[in-house]
């Protein structure tokens, strides 16, 4: 069951590499959130009410509903719903991402610390590096944000992989930060009307 979910997560990553429309990205992020929700739900043996609420908020509400919706609105507003200008051709991204996934499998196999749960760890590492890769190869603000969210998902998965929980307060704070960071990013995207398109090539004036 869990393996299936994680594999699905991996599939979303591969899909991210080749997706060509903003909407797809957005919905993919949402799907990832959903997957994460299921994973956590299955994962949680000791179901104390606070944690449940927290997880529900964190995954279902924020990752699946609020943020995608918010970004969707932005896309509509900014007319960002255009096909993504891929800097590198899709098949290369495809190979790279699959290489990343392969590499992370290898890594987690090599490490296989009984402390961690290998499949989560794999997924997490894969997500983090895929996110970074996405940011590096894309040149649009939205896609950068998608990359960021992917990394966040990876981190979330990583925290699952580790298993030992942080205190509730800390968790809340972390959650709050992630949430607000996305919001503020969104706000600033909204502000970027100073620039004609949302290409980051526009943002190259600050240099020596």
């Amino acid at each position: 069951m869990i393996s299936l979910l994680v594999i699905a997560f991996g599939v979303t990553l591969i899909y991210l590499a080749v997706a060509e429309r903003m909407k797809t990205y957005n919905s993919l992020i949402a799907v990832q959130g959903l997957l994460l929700f299921f994973i956590t739900y299955v994962e949680l043996e000791s179901l104390d009410v606070w944690h449940l609420i927290l997880i529900l908020m964190e995954t279902l509400v924020i990752k699946v509903i609020v943020l995608p919706y918010f970004i969707h609105r932005l896309l509509i507003k900014k007319g960002g719903d255009r096909s993504v200008a891929l800097v590198v051709p899709g098949y290369i991204s495809l190979t790279v991402v699959s290489a990343i996934i392969f590499f992370s499998f290898l890594l987690s196999y090599l490490l296989h610390d009984q402390q961690i749960q290998v499949k989560y760890f794999t997924g997490a590492i894969a997500a983090i590096f895929t996110g970074l890769y996405l940011i590096i190869v894309h040149k649009q603000v939205f896609t950068h944000m998608m990359g960021y969210l992917t990394i966040e998902n990876g981190i979330f998965l990583l925290s699952l992989a580790i298993g030992n929980e942080m205190p509730l307060l800390v968790n809340l704070a972390v959650l709050l930060d992630v949430f607000s960071s996305v919001l503020i990013l969104g706000i600033f995207i909204d502000r970027l009307e100073a620039f004609s398109t949302l290409d980051v090539d526009q943002l190259e004036e600050l240099k020596d």
Binding site: A161, N164, A173, V174
Partner: protein, 470 residues
């Protein structure tokens, strides 16, 4: 006890965002500073108490809190001048003051938190509030800088979080508060903590402004109002240092200590080199100051990497540098206002416009390029000594060699600004000599520290580094 501080400051923040009267808004900020002062003193008095709860500052935290307090105070004053002279709207001021208080609160939170996760949360909070501060001027460049800062440092801090995750992998089920982590350190898996430290260093370099993610830090200091620049290169650098230091503190009880030192040395020298490259290239006074901050951050890492003898040097250097750089940022802020430009080709002949301001700049230059009697000269001498003791004499020469570039660039550009009349320079505004007094005071303290040993600071530092292996 400390919770009260946070509660009150949250209340203040809310009121600040609501309050739409300039005077009240500024007054509230000063109230907040009073609160911060109370916190500093309290923490200082409670130093020897055993740690309880998630919020408790150790000696280093107290030191940095004091630094933050002083620089916050001065940059508030300068922000008031800034807002007056550019007759900012009430709303802008309210937003700025609000996010400024969040910023400082987050910073103080970093110094206070004894839990790694909480520390991370405050770090991210400082990023977010910092974004609002950078965006103050609301022009194209500010927007660009803000976006870059926000994005890259979010990524960086996230990487840092990954580092934390790896730490807790290594730490098994021990709770992630520093005390117990230090206790558990010797049992940790080397591979994990090395990975963790790499991620942490990469991630939090964004705050400290060193390689690899130094770039946006420069942009931020450049495009934000100069009081904020002061905050960024003083307290915020301490935040970055603190974040890295916490992990160093934990791992230093494991066998990877020499590895960490080498890594820090590598990073430090690399930062020095790149800073030297860019300070030669740049034609913008604020960027120049930013690069010199990067240089000093690099020096701090180098010093820290020399182990036992270096810890004191590094932290002392950080502290003194905070004051000197703040003073310079304030004074450059005035220059910026006078010529309404920070580009070298459009400034000049400042000595004729404001002699005392020029004296301040000269003194600041003295302080920042570590000519005696600057406190930084002392720390640099001790740095070289500790490098010699640790037998890395070739590093000494590399560092000295690179430092010459900073001296050259800074001295050339500042003297051009002060003495050479520039036909392209249009004098937009006059400056009130009194405005140069606060920076002169800050820089003066740096020069005094160069002559008289700052016992209070050194004592605090010595207490702080007791936890590190000797």
């Amino acid at each position: 006890m400390t919770e009260i501080y946070f509660i009150i400051s949250i209340i203040l923040i809310v009121t600040l965002f609501i309050a739409r009267v300039t005077v009240i808004s500024h007054a509230l900020v000063f109230i907040y500073i009073g609160l911060l002062g109370w916190l500093c003193v309290k923490e200082w008095l409670l130093l020897d108490q055993p740690v309880e709860g998630l919020l408790h500052a150790d000696a280093l935290g107290v030191l940095f809190l004091f630094v933050t307090l002083i620089i916050t105070f001065f940059s508030t004053i300068h922000y008031i001048i800034y807002a007056q002279k550019r007759n900012q709207g009430v709303r802008a001021i309210a937003i700025h003051n609000g996010s400024f208080v969040i910023f400082v609160t987050a910073i103080s939170g970093v110094f206070l938190s004894t839990h790694i996760g909480l520390l991370w949360a405050f770090l991210e909070a400082s990023t977010l509030s910092g974004a609002a501060l950078i965006y103050h001027d609301r022009d194209r460049l500010a927007l660009e800088a803000t976006w870059k800062y926000l994005f890259v440092s979010s990524i960086g801090v996230t990487l840092g979080f990954a580092g934390i995750m790896f730490l807790s992998i290594a730490a098994h089920n021990t709770p992630n508060d520093i005390g117990s982590l230090i206790a558990a350190a010797p049992l940790m898996n080397i591979g994990w903590i090395k990975t963790s430290f790499i991620f942490v260093l990469t991630g939090f370099s964004v705050k400290m402004g060193v390689v690899p993610l130094f770039t946006i830090d420069i942009d931020a200091k450049d495009s934000s109002p100069s009081p904020i620049g002061a905050m960024f290169s003083g307290p915020l650098m301490s935040v970055g240092f603190m974040a890295i230091y916490r992990f160093y503190q934990i791992y230093s009880h494991t066998s990877i200590l020499p590895w960490m030192n080498n890594l820090l040395l590598f990073t430090g020298v690399l930062s020095l080199f790149l800073a030297a490259v860019f300070i030669l290239k740049t034609n913008n006074y604020k960027r120049m100051l930013a690069y010199s901050s990067m240089e000093h951050a690099g020096l701090i890492l180098v010093a820290f990497s020399t182990g036992v003898t270096g810890y004191l040097v590094a932290i002392l250097h950080l502290t003194i540098h905070a004051f000197a750089k703040a003073g310079l940022f304030f004074e450059i802020g005035q220059v910026h206002r006078v010529f309404s430009s920070k580009i070298m080709e459009q400034c000049g002949g400042y000595f004729k416009i404001s002699p005392i301001g020029s004296i301040t700049l000269l003194a600041g230059l003295l302080a920042i390029v570590a000519f005696p009697p600057s406190g930084l000269f002392m720390t640099e001498f001790m740095l070289f000594k500790s490098l010699m003791i640790s037998g890395e004499w070739w590093i000494v020469f590399i560092v000295m060699f690179l430092l010459c570039f900073f001296v050259y660039a800074m001295v050339r550009n500042f003297f051009t600004l002060i003495f050479i009349d520039n036909p392209n320079a249009k004098i937009i505004a006059k400056v009130n000599p009194l405005e140069s007094v606060p920076p002169l005071f800050l820089i003066g303290t740096v020069l005094v520290v160069g002559v008289m040993r700052p016992e209070f600071i050194i004592d605090l530092i010595n207490r702080a580094i007791l936890v590190l292996p000797h």
